[in-house]
């Protein structure tokens, strides 16, 4: 595939991905003249909490993956310390920013309650994301397998 075609393909795929939310925004603006239901303050709080929690939990997961990396590297300590610091940074940043007050505090009374809520919230979102991935990939696969079988190679005519 030519490079220009490849760029076009990627752009089209990205556009297709973002089409549904863009379409909803367009419909909202056309029919209501405004973005109803968007509170930038609450949305930012949700976004920041999700970012911090995802960073921390993903770092923790990758820290666990270093076990497998260490198997082929004579169990080095340096990467473990590095990822441990990254995870610690995530935890400290979460506690610090939530502790600043209403900026990242949602309907919870304390830093601990908010941090636990963030983790559970992330699990639920991840569950929904996983199910969507299963549905999209599964339906694509089943759509492909439902068609007539194709041969991978042209048979040589004798």
């Amino acid at each position: 595939m030519k490079e220009s075609n490849l760029v076009l393909t990627w752009r089209m795929m990205l556009l297709a991905f973002f089409l549904p939310p863009l379409l909803i925004l367009a419909i909202e603006v056309t029919f209501f003249g405004e973005f109803k239901g968007i509170d930038s303050g609450i949305s930012f709080t949700r976004f920041a909490n999700a970012t911090l929690t995802a960073f921390t939990l993903c770092s923790l997961f990758l820290l666990g993956n270093l076990y497998f990396y260490g198997e082929s590297r004579n169990r080095p300590l340096a990467p473990l310390v590095g990822m441990f610091m990254a995870t610690g940074f995530g935890v400290l940043a979460t506690v610090f920013f939530i502790g600043q007050g209403s900026m990242l505090l949602e309907d919870n009374g304390s830093v601990r309650a908010q941090a636990i809520y963030n983790i559970v919230h992330l699990f639920v979102s991840s569950g929904a994301i996983s199910l969507s991935l299963c549905v999209a990939l599964g339906v694509t696969f089943s759509a492909i397998t439902s068609q007539k079988q194709r041969s991978s190679f042209e048979l040589e005519e004798e």
Binding site: L131, V135, A136
Partner: protein, 269 residues
Amino acid sequence: MNIRDFSRVMDEMLQAFLLFWIPVSMVPLGLWYSLTSSPLRGRFLAFTGIVLICLSPWTVPSSPSSAAGHLLGAVIGPCMLIIIGIYLISFSGNVPVGKLPRSDRRIGFLMSAAGFVWLSGMHWWILTPQLVPNEVNVYWHVFWPTFLLLTSCLASCSAVTLLMIGEQRKTESKIMFLVSALSFTLLLLGLNIDGPFVTAVDFREHLWLAVADMLGIVIGSVLSILVFAFVIYTYERNLPEPESITPPTDSELQQVSALIANHLGGEDE
């Protein structure tokens, strides 16, 4: 806070730790265990964890986190119907291995459709997950818009990918556009039609929060992966050069040549 209050709080925290968070940690631990050493024990551990999480609204009703267990118990049925249904549809088609009977296709379609109808019934009918009567489970507001929006986005992306990269995949692409349109229609219905417990205004608000949530998850995860890559890169770059070994001697070269010669060519039949 007096001692009695503190004791009660500690009890609740301990209960939540023992009956919610330990079962939560059992799921990834069981999956990891099933991949590394014992598949049967690992699966049993993960399954027990899931069952205990689903039971958490009864075992630790005081913990707000148990609402997630309640949601899991509520949506696990339709989700399993959808996943098993898609599995049956996929493997009853033209697959080279693990082919299922053709009749499973219809059953799979019915199961998937039933799963989607069940989930829709949770929004527009009386099946909405409620911890207490007339109070919707807060995590349902997170799960449903995220699922609908992302399914629509991914299906649309898959449809265009099939068109742009695949060869003669128009039929498959149309199916994916149909799935995307179906999810999108459900989104639009949610934005405009009230359910018995979830209003259109609530849904609209939570839809944009779901967008913020997904953006945050993507950015946080990407940042973490970048840090991981940086840590590994820095470590590998600081490793000393591997020591050079002496070149092979003549006798070693002869031995290697003999070995290679023994393994080249084939026997005439």
